[in-house]
């Protein structure tokens, strides 16, 4: 397909694609811009796009209200922790599903996915009661385990699709070379699946980072991640667009940056075996 592309054609598509992309990105851009405005500028009509008095006062205000850094740290610990824990449990499971499939493996996988469709609100009270009796309320451990369970099906499925692309012969070679099962998984399977595992990790960190029901309901302060942080801005008194924007920017920036940096791995990982 390497026929020469005319410059006009290339420019047309460039302009079109950039237009669409900016449109899609605009809400985020606008939020970031607004976070640097004064409240009055934030609702000015006509809107002020770039020419306003840039100020970081909103960030200071938001920071002074709630300990951003602690929420941030909790978010990191919870999302990374739940993902790592999930991987630990999912890797063996995905190994057996991919390499020792039984008749019901597909059904099992689907069943696992269907647990994700459970309406969380319906089981909140039971969970709350359980958490209370186990002393897990507002602990990082508790919320980490819950998020791990929520994302486990996705992790297993993603790993399963990656593992299936690894030729069974390589594992057999390791077996012939005298590797025990654990060594086979640690030395051969896992390193080979690194790109897949990386994207699984990324996607699940993102999902865990953004999870807003369980985190909001099972944590209070010590273990509360950024979702709780943002929950205090959903409708405060007075003019709040700029402060809301600043808080939003602070809540999404880490994950946005992570996502951008790892875009390639992520995109590959998102395909769930859809692209062969």
């Amino acid at each position: 397909m390497a026929r020469t592309v005319t410059t006009t054609r290339r420019w047309t598509f460039t302009i079109l694609a950039w237009g669409v992309a900016l449109l899609i990105f605009f809400p985020i851009l606008w939020t970031i811009l607004t976070s640097f405005k004064s409240e009055a500028d934030a609702i000015a009509s006509p809107p002020k796009f770039l020419f306003f008095d840039w100020t970081t006062q909103n960030y200071a205000e938001v920071q002074s209200r709630s300990p951003y850094f602690r929420h941030f740290l909790n978010s990191v610990i919870i999302s990374v922790g739940s993902t790592l824990l999930g991987l630990l449990i999912a890797v063996p499971a995905a190994w057996s599903m991919a390499f020792q499939p039984a008749k019901r493996t597909k059904d099992l996988l689907m069943w696992m996915l269907s647990t994700k469709m459970m309406p969380a609100a319906g089981v909140l009270i039971p969970m709350y009661l359980l958490f209370r009796s186990w002393g897990l309320l507002d602990t990082r451990l508790g919320i980490t385990v819950v998020l791990m369970l929520i994302n486990l099906p996705i992790i297993i499925w993603m790993l399963y699709t990656y593992f299936r692309e690894i030729p069974a012969e390589i594992l057999e070679a390791a077996r012939m070379d005298g590797a025990s099962l654990s060594k086979e998984i640690i030395h051969v399977l896992t390193p080979m699946a690194v790109p897949g595992i990386a994207s699984t990790l990324l996607l699940n960190v993102i999902l865990a980072w953004n999870e807003a029901f369980w985190t909001l309901n099972l944590t209070t302060s010590k273990a509360a991640p950024l979702t709780t942080f943002i929950a205090s801005y959903s409708s405060p008194e007075g003019l709040f667009y700029a402060k809301l924007s600043a808080a939003s920017t602070m809540a999404i920036a880490p994950i946005l940056i992570l996502g951008w940096f790892s875009q390639k791995q992520l995109v590959r990982g998102l395909t769930f075996g859809a692209v062969k």
Binding site: T14, W30, A93, A102, L108, T115, M118, L244, I252, T271
Partner: protein, 289 residues
């Protein structure tokens, strides 16, 4: 491909996941099932008693229930149509030769990373607000009456917000799939005299079917439980116009604190989810082999 020893090991290794998920399903589910037959309101403790099917009767006869069912389907369906349709168009566009494709991709993927709460807040306040929102300003700028999106077209607005979040996902999967299309196939079609449209309908679309299936599956799983967007923007209203099943259960559980009723709703939702799961499984089973 295996010896008995291996098989035994394999069963042993899926066990933790299965047991955990079973526990995760069964324990709350059992409690939920138990509560669903109780009259149990958090706000009136000490009045718990067995009341048979009453909770179910109330939940199913709630005028909100059928609306919520309908809204759930509309929401899932609407978002799927927008994201898959838009995703295909966008993927086609991004697949063209252009400058700065990397940056374009970064811009397009961004909404996927945004917390649902944040995106709902931003859309609601800064865009859809009929007085101070950007859309209102746009409308005024062209001399039209600003539209009060969340009051007049609540469900559509939510579909729009959710679609914005999921469009990148669909686009990127479809784009990757599109790029995996064998270039020799395209060339063969070209030699066979196929034009752009014929290539699209006869080659690209069928090639994408697998990716589309996966997009539908994943999105459905997440869309069935859309909640934060509704809570933040419309609270399910006006009326029940933007109440979906998840939100209905939520409102039973955490606005009315009617644990019994919410449990019944939860069980109903679980049953429905499983019906959907079976349906999806059929669909996936065919394409994912």
């Amino acid at each position: 491909m295996a010896t008995r020893h291996q098989k035994t090991l394999a069963r042993f290794m899926v066990a933790p996941s299965v047991l955990l998920l079973l526990g995760w399903m069964i324990v709350p589910l059992a409690m939920t099932l138990w509560f669903s037959f109780q009259s149990y309101n958090l706000l009136s403790p000490g009045m718990e008693q067995f009341i048979g099917w009453t909770n179910y009767r109330y939940f199913l006869s709630d005028p909100a229930f059928w609306t919520a069912m309908q809204n759930t389907l509309l929401l899932v369906g609407g978002v799927l149509v927008v994201t898959v349709g838009g995703g295909i168009l966008l993927a086609l566009l991004l697949d063209q030769p252009m400058f700065g494709q990397g940056i374009v991709r970064i811009l397009v993927i961004a909404p996927f990373f945004i917390m649902p709460t944040v995106s709902a807040l931003v859309w609601k306040n800064m865009f859809m607000n009929p007085v101070n929102g950007l859309f209102a300003w746009l409308a005024k700028a062209i001399g039209a009456q600003p539209i009060d999106f969340l009051a007049q077209y609540p469900l559509m607005s939510i579909i729009m917000i959710v679609s914005w979040q999921w469009l990148p996902f669909a686009t990127l999967i479809l784009l990757t799939a599109m790029q995996s299309l064998d270039s020799e196939q395209m060339e063969a079609a070209e030699m066979d005299g196929a034009g752009a449209w014929a290539k699209f309908t006869h080659l690209v679309l069928p090639h994408l079917s697998r990716a589309i299936t996966v997009v539908i599956l994943i999105e459905t799983i997440f869309l069935l439980s859309v909640f934060a967007e509704i809570l933040v923007t419309t609270n399910g209203g006006p009326g029940y116009q933007s109440t979906n099943l998840t939100y209905l259960v939520y409102s039973q559980a955490l606005l009315q604190f009617d644990v019994g009723g919410a449990s019944a709703g939860g069980i109903v939702a679980v049953i429905l989810a499983n019906i959907v799961a079976i349906f999806l499984m059929r669909m996936i089973g065919k394409t994912l082999e």
